[in-house]
Structures are given as C-alpha cells and as structure tokens.
Symmetry: C2
Subunit: 257 residues, 2 copies
DNA sequence: GAGTGGTCTAGACCACCGC
DNA sequence: CGGTGGTCTAGACCACTCT
C-alpha cells in the first residue's frame, strides 16, 4: 500500500485541541494575557465545553495556564525553579529564610508517619507547620513531625495561646532540633493531590496536583524528624542544585514531538 | 450562634466519593483486586458516571488504582521507590544496569534543550534513548542529548542500520561520554504529561501524568550532556538517597486529614 | 448583577481486551 | 462477541470574583 497512514488511530479531540492551543500560546499570547472564556472557546472550536475543559486541564497541569474561578484563564509564566537542598544536608530552619514557621501542635501523626518515625501508634509528636513563599506567591506547605524524644529539653512555654506565640513555639522546636548532630537524610518526591488544608494555604482547589517532598532526618542512630512538604505542581520545578550553582530556566515539561 | 458550622461550603460530590472509596480501598480490598465497573459503581453511589470517574481519576493520580481499557479497574500496589542518584555524581550508564540503551539518532533537539546545551538552533546532537524497568514494569523513558563536541572521538560506525546495532551506537556514545571528567551536575523535577512516544513506552495513554527529571552534566566548563527522564507518576516515587541507605516504604502521598 | 470557572447529569458512541 | 474504560455531547446549576 503506497498510501500514507491516515489516522488509523485518530487522536482524541481534546488532545488535538491541546496541541493547537499550546501552539497558539507560544505564538499569539503573552504571559498574563487572559484567554476568551470557556464557552466562547468551545464554540469557536466547535466542541462541547467539557471537551475544551479537558484540554485546558492538561495545559494547566503542564503549567501553561492559570485558571481561577470567577476571574478567568490566563497565560502562566514559566515555572519557577524552587531550590530544595543544595547537596549539603542541614536541619530545617537553618540559616535560610525561605520558610516561615506558622505554628506547632502536639498530636498523633498519620499511621504512615508514625511508621517512618518508628514511634508507637497514637503517640503524640510535635507537628510544626511552615509555609514557603517565593516570588510573592505561596509555593509550599510543610508539616514537620518531630518526636518528643528528639527535643527533650524543649522549654515548656506557658502557652498564652496567642496567634503570635504559636509561631514562637514552632521556632523553639526547630531551635532544639538543630542542637542534635545531623547524621544524614534521604528524600523522595512523588505526585500527590492537595488536601483541603494544603489547598487553602497554596491558594488552589482541593485535589490540585502537588509534588510531595518527603525528607527523613537521621540523628542519634534513628529517624529524628520527618518533613512532608507539599509543593504546587503547576507553578514549581523542584531543583536539586549539586554543582557550581548555575541557574536553569528552560522550557516546559512536555517536549515537542 | 451556637450551631455547629454545617457545611457552609459543601464539599463536591466527587471529593466525598473519593474519600469514601479511599477508605474502602484501605479496609475492604486487597492489592490487585478488581473493582466493580464504573457503571455499576456510579449506580451504587447514585451519581452520574462522569462524577464517579472524577473520583477514580484522583485515586489513580495518587497511585491507589490502576485502570486499563478493556480490562477494568484494580487496586494498585504501593508506589515503588525508584532510586535516582545516590548523592555522588556519575555519568549516565556507569556501572548500573538499571537503564537499557535503546537506540541513538542524530537530530536537532527541541529549542529548550538547545538553549540548555548552549548549542546553536538546528544544530544536530546525538540523542540516546534509554528505558528503565523496575520490578518487571517499565517506569521511565529517557532522552539523553549529547552535543557532538562532547564525544569528538566517536567511532564512525558503518551503520548497518540493524535494530541491534542501534543499541550498540547508543552504548558507544555513553562510553565516549564517560571519558570526560564530570565536574558537576544539577537536577530538577517537575510535573509533565506523557508525549505520545513516551506513553507508548510506559504503557500509558498519552497525557498521563509523569515526573520529568532533568539532569545537566557539566564537563570541560560547559554543559556536556542533558538528560530528560520521564517517570510514570502513578507508580513511582523518586528517591534521592543521600544517607546510610535505609529503605523507605511508607504510605500514600495524600495524608489523612 | 454579570460573568467566570467548577460541578453534575444522562445519555451516546468508540477503542480495546479477553473469551 | 460482550464487557471494560475512554471520549464526547448539550444541557443545567452552583460558587466565586469583580464592579
């Protein structure tokens, strides 16, 4: 057969739409520009709104678009590189001002965390909440689980329960942690979806895709703390700088086919 | 008002559904078990199929479910930890047998890659394709871009164009690369969606969520190679072991609220 | 109040898999 | 062939933001 293979497996409409829109974004739109609304776009391309939305969702997942209810859809700037670990290993809260302590509670962690910490189930640990802002935008929310045995000399604050003192309590736990000798750490990155609490803090809807960075801190021969940091997957690229420190700023995640 | 806040912001049906299903998966199902089909499930919960699918999609995104067209929906095993970098920096293809060279072509890279490599646009580079299998399952597809200046002494194979020799060509490029002194590297992880080619190799549909790990290799004072590795986001957790080497195997990405 | 994106419905047809 | 998940439609209503 000399005929050119003509779509024996026709690609889905939303996939084709996504490609067309992606190219239009590259050539005809500038960062921050607002797109026509979904009903108009759907009509213009002759598809149902649900189909158009499937294409927009993919583009948002790839960090090309921002969509906000009640506002509209805008062209997103390139993902920002967020440094997570410079190769050397340090306790959280050491020297950098990228994270901001929010508060600290004492409660039983989720089962998976208790397992990683090797603490008994229903055994309360310190839970330090921190948030990270970059370029004026919230990019990550962290829960740092610290067993009480890791900070034995934590001063018993008189808990005036003021909002300001909550942050002070969190900083006190971090300070105590830093007195331990850090023997090592390991990390893992995986895809997750934002819980309601994280979503609120990250200015996203619940279920939004996030990159979950889990860090285990080892000291005194055991897991002395565990950090679960939730990064916005749409706007962030997690960078593990381990070399001279050249900055990277390349294109979107999906390559041209 | 003494009344307890009763859902002033009612949670969406699909979100509630996801929670219910998630708990059912924990308590009433075992790994590999197949769920009832979508039409039955939707009827059982009294929702439209589209709404049920929205919940299933989230659970699949979190690695809790496997769905395959023509087969059904099954309970997924916990995500596998995939080691990416042990802290020390090495050239790709050094010592480990986790990656398998597929082939090697000579072509102009995407614009973003050309920028990172600091090569002129439309300047052909070696493109080595490799694939990674773990636990009998394909987990990643890699494109390694190597400027010709990085492997000047590459023997000119007589290109018999056999399938087997394609892999040989790829291995030859890797061997040549390893003769350079590696001065450093940096990495970045971000969320992407699988291109058609990657999707085929990873046994997923196009657009499936993937974790894109970009690594720049520095030698001779410049970027000597650039690797773009595409990992299945549903089944993989990328681990950056940097400590004693204890294995991690904790729970799913989303924490209990 | 007007306009946006987010949710939801009740259908339909298609592509794929295993029998 | 029958059953599965994947795509698509044409509507409806809701929650949110801005003016």
């Amino acid at each position: 057969m000399g005929t050119t293979q003509l779509e024996s497996v026709p690609e889905p409409k939303y996939w084709h739409l996504k490609t067309v829109l992606s190219e239009a974004l590259d050539s005809e739109f500038t960062v921050g520009e607002i797109l026509p609304n979904e009903r108009d776009l759907a009509a213009r391309f002759g598809v149902a709104r649900a189909t158009l939305r499937q294409a927009l969702e993919q583009l948002e997942l790839e960090g090309r678009l921002n969509r906000r209810r009640g506002v509209g859809t805008t062209v997103a700037p390139p993902r920002m590189g967020v440094a997570v670990g410079t190769g050397q290993q340090v306790w959280p809260g050491t020297g950098d001002d990228t994270w901001q302590a929010v508060d600290c509670t004492l409660a039983a962690p989720p089962a998976a965390v208790a397992t990683a910490l090797e603490t008994p189930r229903d055994h309360a640990v310190h839970i330090v909440r921190r948030s990270r802002v970059s370029h004026g935008q919230p990019v990550a929310a962290e829960l740092l689980y610290v067993p009480r045995t890791s900070v034995p000399d934590l001063p018993a604050l008189d808990t005036p329960s003021g909002a300001a003192s909550e942050a002070a309590r969190a900083r006190a736990v971090l300070r105590e942690l830093q007195r331990l000798e850090l023997q090592g750490q390991d990390r893992a990155v995986e895809l997750g979806s934002a819980r309601a609490a994280d979503a609120r803090e990250l200015d996203r809807l619940p279920g939004a895709p996030v990159l979950v960075l889990t860090t285990r801190f080892f000291a005194e021969g055991r897991t002395a703390a565990l950090s679960v940091a939730t990064y916005r997957a749409d706007t962030c690229r997690l960078t593990f700088g381990a070399s001279g420190g050249v900055e990277i700023h390349h294109g979107p995640a999906q390559q041209a086919s």
